[in-house]
């Protein structure tokens, strides 16, 4: 019997669990509650509807839906909810986490492996949580001759840039964090920050492999930025706006990929290069340069960079959806919401239950259009993410000179072809005023 | 709009003076390029500020031209730095004396 992993005994486990619970209860009643009471003693509580808001009243509010739902509605319309939860960071991080798991399982299936299997009851679905706990508990090792301020700041800046990118993406009509007039130009500006953060992180580690990886990332990102921007100009020409919400709304009858397939293909290939994914994963080529510019990062810094990478992946896939696949537009498949229950109440035999706060919530915030738009957006985004992940199991990595050759000659040429297609469609009257839209 | 034209102009003057100081004092080629960039940005700030207060779209148009030309200038300047560094293994402009190539 080894010391490190003793045999598992259910009785011991339950015993330790019970003792933990007892200790937690004891500490809470003896220390926690007095502290809460002392704090409450010094805080002046607000008066709502002529009643002093004591903690007990707050609990009754939580149990009473007619009082809770207006609070929920007010919270859902705040900017903080938009930034933290739904169209912003939380939603994107959820999709990104799902992407990581699906990538590992799918890659394993493609290569006839099993993939994450043991963590969690079913097919290792808790693997991601275990990885997160491992990364948090690991020591952060900083190289001795590293440039410490830049080295510490780089992962945070990477996540911040990715989050700024996510903030520009419209998910459903009206559901976007930053609805700016020049959203697409903002996207170009944000994309420009990634190579800076990468090269700074690589330089500050003061190590060979990160620097080689950083230089490769710089070449790749900067040279593929040009076909990326050029391939999106066609969409801007046919819609006549830079606002991402308006671009998504303009595709109500057909997505732009029908008319601009060349631009969509060029954008997809440049997207793979910007995301450093196989076949363009030269900056992180693990068989050549250990892990590229991530080599010296450890612990939660590596976790942050991974989070930023997958947020960026989500944002690029969402940008593809918004620009070429019609964003939130799609047939109405969400059934009509139960407005009768909200307005007249629900009859259960002799009793009629009426929830008063439900009606404004359903008619103003969580509407049928919003649910339908979100559903279509998520479906399309997941599809695009699948196609981004697929090459990893299929294609080999290509050389640096082939990559740069592809970017500078073929993709830029194709992007100009796309621009001329868009111009031709506009001048022929197929699109634009007098045309289809 | 709470700020006035004079505020932006004063910031621009300060940036211009800092840039001229950098050009006069620094002998490092790269730092002199920084100083030139700062001066160009001071000019752009003035262009946009005056364009806002006229108001006329010409200010912003000129600023966009200026930004584009500055990009070209930086590309040429940096390639000159690389060539000079390859020749002299130094970035001190006092060392770049020989004009014979």
């Amino acid at each position: 019997m080894s010391v490190i992993a003793p045999n598992f005994k259910l009785s011991k486990f339950i015993q330790s669990l019970i003792s933990d619970i007892v200790w937690a209860l004891m500490i809470m009643t003896l220390i926690g509650l007095p502290i809460i009471m002392m704090v409450l003693f010094f805080i002046p509580m607000p008066v709502i509807d002529g009643e002093l808001l004591t903690p007990f009243l707050a609990f009754t509010y939580l149990a009473d839906p007619s009082r809770l739902l207006p609070i929920v509605q007010a919270f859902m319309t705040t900017d903080m909810f938009k930034v933290m939860a739904f169209p912003g960071f939380g939603f994107a991080a959820l999709l990104a986490a799902g992407t990581i798991f699906v990538e590992r399982k799918m890659l394993a299936k493609l290569q006839l492996r099993v993939g994450p299997f043991y963590c969690g009851k079913f097919e290792g679905i808790l693997q991601l949580m275990g990885d997160g706990l491992k990364l948090i508990s690991k020591e952060i090792i900083i190289p001795a001759k590293a440039d410490k301020p830049i080295f510490w700041a780089a992962p945070v800046l990477f996540v911040a840039s990715a989050a700024a990118f996510v903030a520009l993406i419209p998910v459903a009509p009206g559901w976007v964090v930053a609805d700016v007039d020049m959203g697409l130009l903002g996207v170009f500006a944000v994309i420009g920050f990634f190579p800076i953060v990468t090269i700074l992180s690589a330089w500050s580690a003061n190590s060979k492999f990160p620097f080689i990886g950083g230089i490769r990332a710089l070449f790749q990102m900067v040279s593929f930025e040009i076909p990326l921007i050029l391939s999106l100009l066609g969409v801007v020409m046919v819609t006549g706006t830079l606002n991402l919400s308006e671009i998504a709304a303009s595709q109500s009858s057909f997505p732009w990929i029908v008319f601009l397939p060349v631009g969509a293909i060029v954008f997809f290939i440049t997207m793979l290069a910007e995301l450093e994914r196989i076949p363009f994963d030269l900056p992180e080529a693990e068989s050549e340069i250990v892990a590229g510019w991530l080599t010296e990062l450890s612990g939660m810094m590596y976790g942050l960079v991974q989070l930023g990478t997958y947020l960026k992946l989500y944002a690029f896939a969402a940008l593809f959806v918004v620009l070429f696949l019609g964003g939130w537009n799609g047939p109405m498949i969400v059934p009509p919401l139960p407005m009768e229950i909200a307005t007249h109440g629900m009859e259960m035999g002799p009793v009629t239950v009426k929830i008063s706060g439900l009606e404004p919530l359903l008619s103003q915030v969580i509407t049928q259009e919003m649910l339908n738009g979100t559903l279509w957006f998520v479906l399309k985004t997941v599809g695009v993410i699948f196609f981004i992940l697929l090459p990893r199991g299929v294609f080999p990595r290509i050389r640096v000179d082939m990559l740069l050759n592809l970017g500078w000659t073929k993709l830029i040429g194709l992007a100009f072809v796309n621009i001329f297609i868009a111009l031709g469609l506009l001048y022929a009257g197929v699109l634009g005023p007098g045309g289809l839209q | 709009m709470t700020s006035e034209l004079i505020d932006f102009t004063l910031v621009s003057v300060a940036l211009l003076a800092i840039g001229i100081y950098g050009l006069a004092v620094k002998r490092n080629f790269i730092r002199m390029l920084f100083a030139v960039e700062i001066i160009i940005n001071a000019a752009n700030l003035n262009l946009v500020a005056f364009g806002r207060f006229l108001p006329h779209s010409g200010g912003q148009t000129l600023a966009l031209f200026s930004i584009a030309i500055a990009a070209a200038e930086v590309a040429v300047g940096l390639s000159l730095i690389i060539v000079a560094y390859r020749m002299y293994q130094n970035v001190d402009i006092a060392d770049f004396r020989s004009l014979k190539g």
Partner: protein
């Protein structure tokens, strides 16, 4: 008078401009220069010119700062941290800076622009595009030619004939 955002932006811009020239490490100097360029973009936002501001962020911070960082990193490590200047020249430079600042500032403060304020509507960014293709079209074409020729010139200058031939064996 100026508001808090304006004051914060001007402190960031001018402070990082000084830091860009005075910091020991050229890498930190480049980062400070990025701060200056970003601060100028913030001023453009304050001036209701978001198109120019985002263009500034995309071109200056996105491309020019990367180019500068890359060039700085190509230079030997000891040269990045070396500071070449002499004391007397520096004091003369500071004097020159103060003289320019005070005299130009006094001229501007004394002139008529001190009283200029505006309530006019902002310029729509579509007007800029119209400007580009109507009144300024020769300048636009000339700018395209200048950009193309300068990029070609930069590529020709930075090319290395000695290594080139060995690597081009395909």
């Amino acid at each position: 008078m100026a508001d808090a955002v304006f004051l914060a932006l001007s402190v960031i811009t001018i402070g990082s401009a000084i830091a860009a020239l005075e910091m020991r490490s050229l890498i930190y100097g480049s980062i400070a220069l990025m701060g200056t360029l970003g601060g100028i973009a913030g001023f453009f936002f304050l001036l209701d010119a978001p198109f120019v501001a985002l263009f500034q962020l995309a071109v200056y911070v996105g491309s020019i700062a990367v180019l500068i960082l890359f060039t700085v990193m190509l230079v030997k490590r000891e040269l990045i941290f070396k500071k070449i200047e002499d004391k007397r020249r520096k004091f003369a430079g500071i004097g020159l800076m103060l003289i320019i600042m005070v005299s130009l500032g006094a001229i501007f403060l004394d002139s008529g622009i001190k009283t200029i304020t505006t309530d006019e509507p902002t310029v729509n960014f579509r007007d800029i595009g119209t400007d580009f293709v109507t009144y300024y079209w020769p300048a636009l074409i000339l700018m395209g030619l200048i950009l193309a020729s300068s990029v070609t010139g930069a590529l020709v200058l930075a090319r290395r004939e000695d290594v080139e031939n060995d690597q081009r064996i395909n």
